[in-house]
Amino acid sequence: MSWPSLVAWVVPLLAGIGAYLAAFDVPSPGRRSIAVGYGTLFGLMLSALAASLLARDDTQHAWSAGMPWLLALAIAMATIVARRRRLATARTEVVAENPPASTAAGMRRSRWQSALLIALLASLGLRALVLAREIALRPLYPWDAWAAWAVKPKTWVLLGHYVPFGSIRDWLAQPPSELRTFSAFVYPDALAWLDVWFASAAGGWVEPLVNMPWLAVWLAILVAHFGQWRALGLGHARALLAVYALGSLPLLSVHAALAGYADLWIAAFFGLAFLAWVRWLHGRERPQLILAVVCAAMLPFIKLEGWVWCAALLLAIGFGALSPRWRLRGFVLALLATAVLFLGGLRFLFSLLGWTGADGGVLVENAGPFALLLQLSWHGDALTGVANALFALPSWNLFWWIVPLVVVWRWRELVTREWLRLPALLLLGCFSALMFLFLATAAADWAQSFTAINRLVLQLAPAVCSLLALLVRDAALPARANDATRELAASNDPA
């Protein structure tokens, strides 16, 4: 790796971690992991932002144009963090003296349990090395990576400047060179600008260096989740075991190895927004609420379905902030709004957005996948595809077998703890939306051919893993019969 590439990595990461520490950090177990995980993603998005704002006229020098700004941001954030640390030392000590109960419980591990954990984590390390080699060696491989996601950045980098992309009708109406077109022109640009940033540091369109952020995202997901799970009361062992479970999901590794798709990024930001929201529900830490909103707001800049997940998260966050009396009204309102949308509201919205033609038909090239919502019909066959994808094909290990078992086992937690119940309802809503998509629209083909179903489910998988981890956070084996008798006798003892 050349020194410009190294600097193009280090400075945004420092700026991202600094921004996280300055804006969102609250004392908790796992705070360093949280800062590194969230900071890595923020840093990568900051480099994309810098490239999009500062390098439109000269994409080949995007990193050198953005570097002073990001360096200044990193220094400013470091100054704020250092100053705040000095002022807050006393408060940190108080928190350190009172770790959550489960932290202490998690400290007691037998030797074989420790050995097993080390072996499982070593397998994650081995995986990371294979993923890094895979990305470092090969040209861009998966279909949509070169047919859709890399078209804009490669064009901008090789032209040396930005050109807009539009529909083929607009392209035909424009003089040559002023507008470009391809089928995925509506895709958001954040990852395209990220590619521009790393390509400019690499000195050209060097695909392995452009794709390396996908490995960083895979690692950031694991590190950030570990930290947040620790902050939410999971002991070391359980948090590490959950990290292993998440990191060993085959499709998650595939999306890092075959870099270039946006689904891993959506999974990262959705999972991180979800966890920050859960922390707010659990501990009412205001910075975590803002963090959840910020992460949710990133989603539409990454992929079109990011709009849907962003809306779902923001609705859930708003719903969670309502008093119980207002929640019922909010729920009724949401039902009414959904009914209005599907009874003509959507068509009106599409026409407002310019997604319908003169004849009233949907312009699929503009509306993208949202066009499916106007053509509803029942596709029961897709259920077989869904079941195969989740329970039979090797993309998920036993993850989807375990989800219902854990939910049934720990259902009382869902009923009694609101900070788990609301996130579970959000995920239920998201999965219901996916089922609606596959069973009631032409997207049923995506389930039967296994093209999109796993990728859409992947976007929710880290959040589901978080829910499972939190459900078993303080689960204990039933007491031994003689222990229970002893406890009963002790409780009946008048002394």
């Binding site: 040209p139 279909w143 078209v151 490669k154 064009t155 035909l172 391809f182 085959p250 998920w396 084996l477």
Partner: protein, 395 residues
Amino acid sequence: MIRRIVFAAVLLAIWLGLLGHAAGIPWKAPISSGRQLAMSGRDFLVRSGSGDQDTEGLVVSKLGDDGTALQTASLGRARAEQLRILRYRMSGFPNTLELALVFRRTDDVDDVKTVSLPSPRDGEVAIDLATVPDWQGEIREIGFAEYPTSQLVPPSTVAFEPFHIDAVTLQAPSWSQLLPRLRNDWTGYRPWSQRSINTLGAQIGTVPTSSLVATLGAGCVMSVFAGWLILPLSRRYFAKAALATALAAWVLLDANWLAELGGKHATIEKIYSGKPWSEREALQPDPGTFSAAATMSRVVAKEEAKRVLVLSDSPFTLLRMIYFMLPIDAVPLEQVAAISPEAVARAGTLIAVVDCECRYDANSGTLTKGTASFAVTPVTEQGELRVYRPREVSL
């Protein structure tokens, strides 16, 4: 004690039932197959590429000029439904090659049927051909074809390593096939493919495989449930057993996935390792399209063209051509023609034709694909690439 014996018997029944179901072995099948047609590698003749017979079989030593090797054996008249299990053992089969079964039926001798086979990299493979729609009637001839793995391995990187065809057998189903069948389904080498980003498992066009995840998941659930029903377990012991079973099954599946990932990656290391990016960039699985795009870039510069319209029969080739040509302003010709036929002939436009059965008629000066015709003037033709300048268009 009796409960434990019953539990052991139930466990045996559960797992035998599940494994037998996964392998597609009928309950009434015999332990070993009575009806079979066994061949050694020596029974195969080399039709394409090079190879020599030795005392134990056939050594395939080279691909043909078309990048494919083919070996066939005559069967006489074998009934497909009676001999539906194909077992083959090859040694040293390289992971850069894809293996396909080719066969001919008596009722249609001119039509050669093909189906992609699992790689025989590690010993013997057994597959059930009942899931192959064309495997019916009388089979007259079977054979193996080998070629660089499509959409993954650049043909130029296949430094051919000789491999050995040891034995090939067609059998009726029997329980003796249980292990070789499941071993291949669950642990066989599967290269990266364009489908991998969407799902793992058997790829399109190959013989379907049974599901290890479903078998293990169902087996674990049923075993734990049987233990709960039959054994006098305390709640604590039951919870421990359930957790240990789930963890063990997860780790087993993960170890299997890691091995699969390692196998996939070994191919990538073999192709790209130790080469600079300038060399790796050109090592595409579709080198013809890559070089056509490079040629087209030079033609565009020479002709001072503003736009390129690309025509191909294959969506893969079409989109790859457009990507490789970037930053040239290129779009699919048929997409433009469908919206605005007259726009095809705009000034500064060239048409690039690659991997296409299109016909050019020099007399009328038209390029025809299907029912669409385009009035063009030839500019150049190099390798797989043909370049035209549009004049006017009529559909």
